[in-house]
Amino acid sequence: MSVPNHAPMPGRPVPPMFSPGRIWTLAAATFTQLVRMRTFYFLLFFAVLVFGMSNVNLLYTAEQQLSTIRGTSFGAMWLFAWLFAVTATAVVIPRDIEDRTLYTILSKPVPRVEYLLGKFFGVLLVITVALGAMLLLSGLVLEFRKAGLIAETRSYLEQSPDLTPADIQGQLDAISSEGFHPRLFTAAWIILLQAAVMAAATILVSTFASSSLFTIIVGIAFFLIGHGHRIAVDYWSEGGATNNWLAWAAKVVPDFHIFNVHEKIVAGSTASPLVMAEITAYAGVYCLVYLLLGWYMFSDKEF
């Protein structure tokens, strides 16, 4: 071995206490790790599902067919996003601890909060890319199918002597409105926000959990509690009963019903900018709180 100059660099700059560049490095490494774990194979399943739905001709109207493709696509996106947020986040940190990769990372000038943020954003990056790909794919399928259905309907309606061109155009417009619409971006954004909350909560659990399996179980339980949240709160508060402990417990887990707005958007409603801002802030506060708690748990953790 011939040794090139390894003498310490003169005037080495003092590393910053907080560096977005280091967080990005960790996020990019997490992204690469998850991608090379063949995570995106899920997209194949999604593609088969969406193409399959577009070719299944149940006795639906053209509008119903497009609505079904849309609903199925976004249902799959929603399922992928939250489930991936839990399972991927539950794997990345415990695996680093088990493999002792964490030793070499934390022995570099990397504050622990940056490590947690890097893992969080790495998982979110994968979910964002996957949601983007699924959105694109479902949009393409919707538009392709819409064009076919419009052509078929037009030729069918034009054979009917009772219909005026205005009637035909009205029906074609009704089909067209069921295709891809920019409002679907807001539905995807809400799905991403819910996944971000799940990822932040799972990061918190993985800072004290002893295994990935435990973290996944707690993460899924957290998701179910979040969906049963409103029912539980209504039940407890029946008859005007007030309990401070319960009120605080209800705040620990977010009410995931808030994120169900995406279903209405997919069905055709539009969310106002105020509603979107409220949901974004709601998710942001929960992410921040969970990440701060995770940092607190992780800062004194010994390996």
Partner: protein, 310 residues
Amino acid sequence: MSGSSSTPPSSPPAIEARELTKVFPLQWSKGYMVAVDKVSFTVNAGEVYGLIGPNGSGKSTTMKLVLGLMAPSLGTTKVFGLSTSDVRARSEIGFLPENPYFYKHLTGAETLRFYGKLCGLRGRSLQERIGELLELVDLEHARDRRLAGYSKGMLQRIGLAQALVQRPRLVVLDEPTAGVDPIGSREIRDLILRLKQEGISVFLCSHLLEQVQEVCDRVGIIFQGKLRREGPLDELTAIENQTEILLQEASPALISKIQALIQAEGADLLSLGRPRTTLERLFLDEVERGLADARSAGVHSAEPSPPPRP
């Protein structure tokens, strides 16, 4: 052995541990275990320090305290004057864990790029550094191969390269030759000596005493959490009331005369014989000889040449 002259005398110690104590509470009981008990030592800048002890003696815990991976229950550790709880101290430290595991999905070059970026290196300087280090650890041929396909020795070498990526002033090595073949082990030892020549401090935890003896200026012996002995290697290993004379080309007559003189002076002759080479040296000599024979016979070997003996 003494520290390198390239380090300014005013430089703070590479490691300064004072009354370092680590207590672990025992699960399911109210008891506790003292893993490290009031350990104090100093590793001067440019020095190679070996911490030796049997398994479970507190070596790894001491090392983790030095790296800031654990907080001491009592006492302090400083690296070049900075507390190890200060994350900036770690920009001066390169760490090679025992049996290092890295992200197996990354290639050799990507691994070094990842750790380099964590240390703030970017762009062309990082690219050049990656090339230098891959050449140093003889892994240029595997730079684009994923670590999942690396052998144990190759992982150890890439681990050493990542430890050096930011040109640290202190290198902490935990059993650096574990699982490495004799040639690789020799290369790592040569590298430690060269790092020392360049003024880089090395903190070495090992239970391979021969290896420690070859490279370290000073050693500490830790057992049951306490530092039992500590000091310059030459002083610790010298037997005060014995003297060793090593002769070359001595005739039997000369040896008889010396024996007679020893008897006449009333001293005891404890041993007389030929010094032994080490098995490792014998092994390396044979490999060298085999390679030389192959070269002279015109046969090309795929194996790398063994390093020159220091």
